[in-house]
């Protein structure tokens, strides 16, 4: 299995496939293309499925339909100019992308954002985690056939986007942070808006859960579907909620605290079975934890400057750095090599979606077509990030 580049055609001769146990029944396996134009592949993912009836014998992901060469672009832009580009990778969690990038460059330059900026970053990032999880929940439920949660989550996500819009003028690709801090001070009433949002959204999460958590059909569709063991998950480099649902308590916000996360009290929800239902529960719990973090942050946000001592022209010293953060989808890492000029010599992104996507084959073998959709949904991939 693997994730191949776009040069792959329909040639599936080297798909590693098990030979069926009853070869005489092996009349004709069906090879179908799921995507790149398919309502449930979350963008332009193409999955070549080898089917025996409806049973999945093997899969191959073909990616690259959304490749924009972000990493190469970075080499031709200054550090400041590249900042907005990272928002276009995981476009549903643009704030997290920006945080990871800014912190990586700050680490390379050995500067630190002032405390107030750190708090603003935490609040916005956690809001964005909520938004990302809400979008995931809506589309995941839609894939499994429940239409209504999508509209509920979009209604509530709207409130988050409104806060973003008031803060920095953009809703999706926010470009909220700058290297060294934040460009904008919070607007008057920001804290009130965030607090209002917290009281608004807490019962809404119960509402989603009411629709799904104990829904018999939802349980049947998600329990024991797309199981991945902790060992497999670690071996494949899977991170984020997908890893935690398998029972591994690994969250970079705790493991390698960044921004102001060490100052807040929150838990890392984990699952046990590593199935789709556990991943659902973990993400639902994470939304509530995000609310906790935001609440603490907004109540204790310090006064002070929002921009650290950063030169006008950003020119990091020669060196290299790897910095990763816990994005909504998993570990988002930036590896930057600096040659001392104003542009990175090389920038490499470790996108969580890309790595998590590798687990698809392990998770869906032997399941049915309908489960492939459920598993793609539960992996929570964004193709903008997979292809970059």
């Amino acid at each position: 299995m693997s994730v191949h580049g776009n040069d792959r055609t329909n040639d599936v001769s080297n798909l590693e496939l098990e030979t069926p146990e009853t070869p005489y029944l092996d009349a004709n396996e069906l090879i179908i293309n799921m995507g790149p134009q398919h309502p449930a592949t979350h963008g332009v993912l193409r999955v070549i499925l080898k089917l025996d009836g409806e049973k999945v014998l093997g899969t191959e992901c073909v990616i690259g339909y959304l490749h924009r060469g972000v990493e190469k672009i970075a080499e031709n832009r200054t550090y400041t100019m590249f900042n907005p580009y990272v928002d276009r990778m995981d476009y549903v969690a643009a704030v997290s992308n920006g945080l990871g990038y800014c912190e990586a460059v700050e680490k390379l330059m050995n500067v630190e954002a002032p405390p107030r900026a750190q708090y603003i970053r935490v609040i916005l990032t956690e809001l964005n985690r909520m938004a990302s999880h809400q979008l995931w929940l809506g589309t995941h439920a839609l894939d499994i056939g429940a239409m209504t949660p999508l509209f509920y989550t979009f209604r509530d996500r709207e409130e988050i986007l409104k806060i973003f819009e008031r803060y920095c003028g953009a809703r999706l690709t926010t470009h909220a942070f700058r290297i060294g801090g934040c460009q904008y001070e919070t607007y008057a009433g920001f804290e009130r808006d965030v607090k209002n949002f917290l009281t608004f959204v807490a019962p809404k999460i119960d509402e989603y859960e009411e629709l799904l958590t104990t829904n018999r059909i939802w349980l049947e569709r998600t329990k024991n579907v797309g199981v991945i063991s902790a060992a497999d998950a670690v071996a494949l480099g899977v991170t984020g909620p997908v890893l935690r649902a398998s029972g591994v308590q690994w969250d970079l916000r705790k493991a390698q605290p960044y921004a102001a996360y060490s100052k807040f009290d929150f838990e890392i929800p984990t699952g046990e079975n590593g199935d789709t239902y556990d991943r659902y529960l973990v993400r639902m719990a994470e939304m509530r934890q995000s609310l906790r973090i935001i609440e603490q942050a907004v109540n204790t946000i310090p006064e002070g400057p929002i921009m650290g001592k950063v030169p006008k022209v950003i020119k990091p010293p020669v060196g290299e750095i790897y910095h990763s953060i816990e994005a909504p989808k998993g570990e988002l890492g930036y590896f930057i090599v600096s040659d001392g000029s104003t542009q990175p010599y090389r920038l490499r992104v470790r996108p969580p979606s890309f790595v998590n996507l590798q687990a698809l084959d392990v998770m869906v073998r032997g399941l049915l077509v309908a489960d492939v959709i459920a598993v793609i949904g539960t992996l929570d991939i964004v193709l903008g990030e997979v292809d970059r």
Partner: protein, 429 residues
Amino acid sequence: MPNFITSYLGSTLTPGSAGSQFWALIYVLIIFTGVSVAVMAMNWLERKALAHFQIRLGPMRVGPHGLLQPIADAIKLALKEDIIPAEADQFVFWIAPLIGLLAAFTVYTVIPFGPSQAVSDMNIGVLFMLGVSSLGVLGIVVAGWASNSHYPLIGALRSSAQMVSYEVAMGLAVISAVLMTSMKSGTGTLSMIGIVQAQQEQHVWFIFQFFPLGLLAFVIFAIAMVAETNRAPFDMAEAESELTAGYHTEYSGLRWSLFMLAEYAAMISVSSIAVALWLGGWMRPFPNLLHAPAWDLIFSLFPGLTFVGLAAIAFIGTVRMPAYSFFKIQRIGLAVFAALLGFLALLLLVIAVAGRSADASVAARFNQGIGYVYWFVFKVAVFMYLFIWYRATWPRYRFDQLMKIGWKVMLPISLGVLVLTAIVGVIVS
């Protein structure tokens, strides 16, 4: 001509049974247009109700509150290019939607809108209905096969598997209702009209007969009919998120709309079966308990009052419409629509009052007929709303889980219900 009409109105037989081919033809035409209009209305209602479940507005642009949307859609679909894929089996591809449509509409010949308000009173009505309505699946299977494409093929396979697992439980549930008809008279009947009349004689809707046996059979039928019509949560034959569009992926334009027409017509027809078999068909609530003339009058006012309600909703919509000049035409349109509904309401109320006497005058017969059709359609409408509600609430079952429920849960229960119904029936009578 008036004589001709009154002679018909005096008849207590369906035109098919009375041998009146002219009236049978008229009935067929009325039902065909009626069902087509109902499908369009259902299309609009589904989009509107679903939208309101999902905190959206739904169609709002074409006509006031999107009332003309189904017509606009129909025109759009009819004008689209007629595409038959090069690799498809041309003839089969062409005929598949027609099979589905024919099956969906043929069922209406035996649906009893009233004791004489049906095309025909076939003595094997139930059998005919089950047989013909399951033919609809043939259209789906054939469409999936003829498309010569992967997704439609999987959709067709799913559909056939679905049919096999649900027809059996459905049939057994129906048989238990048929068994109940033999309770008082001693001889059961397969005629749809006969079944409703049996409920009238026994003074009980079959859903409450031998509680909870009737209820169980009804529930099984109600689940099976959702599966039969490929609706959520059993819509895996056309599961949008899995198979793009399932069996009709390769269809577009008019042919696609024929599939949709067939699907909605089938929804209405299976709901009609459920209503006729378990919910007292055309009977108004408590026809035996509350049978004083005053009650008759009150219940015969219901059709008129329903239209008064609809007119009121339309009128409120007119008043609440924004006052921009942009909405002027829509406003006038909605006002006219409200006036039309109000006129209908008035007409129905006048008929109800004029025909309140129990004699055999034209107005009385007319009044009775309207009452029958109204209560039947009202009960069917409840089912149609349920179909929308299911779709808004539930995720989709997986294909193997559906089979599991069909074979391992519903079949044993329906068998048990059948056996128990027979035993209880013998003991009671």
